[in-house]
């Protein structure tokens, strides 16, 4: 089998959801230590936090943060989809629709929250 065919055989929605779930999980795992480190700064050394916050106000950093919120939303959405698939015994299009709705809703809600913040 050629490499391209190998990827195409996996190019269906459920496989994509699996990959997104995995990749967003890994990225979140990388991000969380950074997040806790920033929180730690806020508690212990407010001046250092201030300079960090100034740094984090740059557009590129803002952009990356939006990406992280998106990762969180996607990871949550994919997780909810899995729970529905496995615990609610729904079938076929119902579960696809419900999962899409849930994932879309969660993503929208989180992005909105980010806008407000």
């Amino acid at each position: 089998m050629s490499g391209l065919q190998k990827w195409r055989a996996r190019g269906h929605v459920a496989y994509l959801a699996f990959v997104v779930h995995r990749v967003s999980g890994v990225l979140l795992a990388l991000f969380i230590p950074l997040h806790l480190w920033t929180l730690g700064k806020a508690l212990n050394r407010p001046q250092a936090l201030d300079s960090f916050l100034v740094w984090s106000d740059q557009p590129l950093v803002k952009f990356a943060e939006t990406g992280l919120v998106l990762m969180l939303a996607l990871h949550l959405g994919c997780g909810l989809r899995l729970l529905m698939l496995e615990l609610l015994a729904w079938r076929q299009w119902q579960q696809t629709l419900a999962a899409l709705a849930a994932a879309g809703g969660v993503a929208a809600a989180l992005l909105f929250a980010l806008r407000l913040a």
Partner: protein
């Protein structure tokens, strides 16, 4: 429609290569027709399997342009790409020769998943009465038509990653028996399918469900087993 097909066919066992044949393209031709043409007209040494030719026996599955399919019910015009077909033995199974794989691991796992019915009655007892519209019977109906073709098994990445994984067909079979009120082996079967290489190993990729030619959903059956295992674990039975 181009007049000839270029058909790359896997030759040899695990170490092999593709050999290209030219086959006339005909209306309503199935992939199995193409393989049979090669074997009858071009190279009688080609090994492959089939029996029923009507989608019942499950013996003709192969990888066609990268996707596992039942070849007797797959029309060439639906899968051909730029006049080419690439045929290989099913993935995730040992290759014997050319397009024939050793299906033993696949069928052994149906055994390991306790895929055989264990009766609670003898033939001297009266027939069991199962209401056709009972929820258990309806849920069995959704999973029972498996022809044992191995398409799901060949499409499952979890099988590729963990060779011990029981795989979609064996777990689907186990699910039908777990719903069967006449069966006497529910406890042992649940134990057999709830291990490390059982239902919990499934990542819900749904490639099995995507490809099953009988349009079954082994993923849904496996999810059912996961729920049964969870319920039993919560009750302290597992």
């Amino acid at each position: 429609m181009s007049q000839t097909l270029q058909v790359d066919v896997w030759r040899g066992g695990a170490d092999g290569h593709y050999q290209t044949f030219e086959v006339p393209h005909r209306e309503h031709q199935t992939v199995l027709d193409v393989v049979t043409y090669i074997q009858r007209e071009l190279d009688p040494s080609l090994s492959y399997r089939y029996a029923c030719r009507v989608g019942m026996c499950g013996s003709c599955a192969m990888s066609v342009n990268g996707k596992a399919r039942w070849t007797c019910r797959t029309h060439v015009k639906r899968v051909v790409e730029h006049g080419r077909l690439r045929l290989a033995p099913l993935d995730n199974l040992p290759r014997i020769k050319d397009l024939a794989t050793d299906m033993a691991p696949f069928f052994d796992k149906i055994g390991q998943a306790r895929g055989t019915f264990v009766p609670t009655r003898t033939r001297h007892d009266p027939f069991a009465a199962i209401a056709p519209d009972s929820p258990a019977r309806a849920s069995i109906d959704e999973a029972i038509e498996c022809i044992g073709c191995g398409v799901c098994y060949a499409s499952c990445d979890t099988v590729a990653w963990n060779p011990d994984y029981l795989g979609p067909a064996a777990l689907n079979r186990a699910w039908t028996l777990m719903q069967d009120s006449r069966d006497a082996a529910h406890a042992e079967r649940l134990l057999a399918v709830a291990g490390d290489a059982g239902c919990h190993a499934c990542h819900t990729h749904m490639s099995c469900t995507e490809r099953c030619p009988k349009q079954l959903s082994p993923t849904a059956s496996i999810a059912g087993l996961k729920r049964l295992a969870l319920g039993a674990a919560l009750k302290g039975e597992l």
